[in-house]
Amino acid sequence: MERKTFPTSETVDFIVVGSGSAGGIVARELALAGHSVVIMEQGPRLDAWEFEHDELKYRHLSGITNNPATNPQTFRRDESEVAVRRNSMTYARVVGGSSSHFNANFWRLHEIDFIERSVLGPIEGADLVDWPITYAELEPYYCKVEWEVGVSGLAGASPFASFHSRPYPMPHLPIKSSGVLFERGARALGLHPFPSPMAINSTVYRGRPACVQCGLCGGFACEVKAKNSSVWTVIPEAEESGNCEVRSNSYVFQIGMNDAGRATGVHYFDGDRVEQFQHARAVVVCANGSETPKLLLNSATNAQPTGLANSSDMVGRNLMLNKGGGAQARFEEPLNEYKGANVTMMLHDFYNSDPARGFYGGGGFTARSGGPLTWGQNVPEGTPTWGPEFKDYLESYTHWMNCAGHGTSLAQPTNRIDIDPDLKDDWGVSAMRVTYKDHPDDMKHAQFMVDRAVEIMDAAGAVQIVPSEVGPANGGVHLLGTCRMGDDPTTSVIDKYHRTHDVTNLFLCDGSSLPTSTRGQPTHTIEALAFRAAEHINRFAAANEI
């Protein structure tokens, strides 16, 4: 197929900034509706054969993620500190974005997620809010993700799930040893584990193969296209429409604005680091929860001097990362966790925040595996870090698993992305500064999750359990809340249709849109929001309301 290209001089209907979970879907939906679309992606476009089973490259050397050497950031705990150079926000920098390297554990939210403020009331030190939409409004779009992108699982298996109007299109993946043990321990405690929904094909689906169980999902891009990343799913379909160009190695650093307060396109650096400008009638930013606010703040104009679409002063604020806690456990016989999809069993018994615990927080648990290179760096307390006994520990690798808790982080306006006053990246673009300090309830809930994980692994018969340490957040890969949606333009950045309150032809859709932190696995929701946003943007375009 010959890929469509547009000259920069041509005014396209839409520019979509970012090619990840949301960007790919938005672009496909707009292109299929007949609009001309250019997707701008910072990173390169790689084919499946170019990805490797290389844990060092992808998990330790920024193989497809933002590189601290060229894309530096600064970090501080609060505004009283001087930020130091340190990359705390991690995301993929490749066509497909973070949908390329995610674990693909796809949870829907529950009805409670959308109305927690109304149910629980205010929480001191946090800005907990209701969503401007409900689960019922989003449910059809969850189905759309499951069927059009591809999710395997067993609908209705969890007693705690909110309603599903359709089953998953594929059966769940094979349950691996960690899942069996997790289920054994959880059921012994009266809990309700169930096969994990995954955006990974368990059968041939929409022309893509079933998972080959290579074991390298989180941090890696799928080499057989069985993990349903946008680069293998919606982006090719957008291109097949003949209306969409994916412009890789194109780093958007500023949104162009005219005197009328409308977006006119984007300034970007091409692959040769030459500055370009692409004209467009509208811009949809899907760059992730850290890059989206950075782009808006770096796009300040005389009319909007504190950053684009920032009349509320909410751009970059309320950063949430999904606090979690769990335990590592060793069993008598080998599990071989390096084989098979990373997650096959999970539970939602502790999903809701329970005021009886004395703190806010809730989430899910998964039986989860990780790569040996990363595992080998961390030695349990009491185990020698070198010598024959350390070697014995290394030999036990195949006997270990993780029971991982994935939980809430409370929105706090002081936790934010803004622009570092001094630091610039390799392109000369002002770098992001991250300010983040856990809410006390997030710390308490993380410890709660550690304690539950230890109980589950003990009930499963583990011969050694290593609880994770609960400490202050150092960074994250779920980058949420920084351009939250809401009905009130004084307290939110976008409306419930993802249009910025301040700029009529500027839309945002990614992790930044989420008003709350989604309990650990946000991508399914981000993709559902993307389908919903695109539907409304198409509606606005058809009505000439952009």
Binding site: P68, L373, W386, Y397
Partner: protein, 204 residues
């Protein structure tokens, strides 16, 4: 989801806090051992040393051999981790080389001061080596070389270590890239998921 502390940053911290010290340059008896590894470029199909000098390589080799010793299962020396460390410090960890080199020099001078002898660490009796490593195994330099040793043991052979996948042999990982269930001991006889009373799972 939060991420673990950045590995590269940990490395920087691990190698970044050492005071400088002079390198004791002597002709050590153990050089021959490192040189044997270092000359693998002449026909054996292995890389030569590119960053470490032969005396430095002898010291690094001796330390990593105590971190993951040989024996019935492969150790760091069997997996030729030395070449990984040399390659890493000459390429993707090159920025850390100055600190690493200073750390190694500090390690050496401190060992010499401890023993009162010019005999290098790599030429010392193993009991003395082990005793000394217990003294310094919390230092940033040791943590850095330990980290590099584990990376070199398990990372793909193309980076210089994990020779013939011997590191994977040690940890029980088979060199294949696709699998079918059952994967491990506990899922061999898994009977399948049993629904809970009151739930109605449904499939396509």
């Amino acid at each position: 989801m939060e991420q673990p502390s950045p590995s590269r940053r940990q490395f920087l911290i691990a190698v970044g806090n050492l005071a400088s010290a002079s390198w004791i340059a002597v002709n050590w008896p153990q050089i021959a051992s490192a040189a044997e590894h270092g000359h693998h470029g002449d026909g054996a199909g292995h890389a030569s040393l590119t960053r470490l000098t032969v005396p430095q390589a002898a010291e690094v080799d001796a330390i990593m051999n105590l971190i993951v010793p040989g024996g019935a299962k492969p150790g760091a020396r069997d997996a030729q981790v030395l070449y990984f460390i040399d390659n890493a410090l000459g390429s993707f960890f090159a920025a850390q080389w100055p600190e690493f080199e200073l750390g190694l020099a500090e390690f050496q001078s401190a060992f010499a001061a401890h023993t009162g002898s010019a005999t290098p660490f790599s030429a010392a009796p193993e009991a003395q080596q082990v005793e000394w490593l217990h003294e310094v195994d919390e230092t940033p330099f040791f943590l850095a070389i330990r980290r590099l040793t584990v990376l070199g043991l398990i990372a793909l052979p193309k980076y210089g270590g994990n020779h013939e996948y011997k590191g994977w042999d040690l940890i029980g990982v088979e060199n294949r890239h696709f699998w079918t269930s059952p994967f491990g001991f506990y899922d061999r006889d898994y009977p399948g998921f049993v629904p809970y009373p009151g739930t109605q799972p449904f499939t396509a």
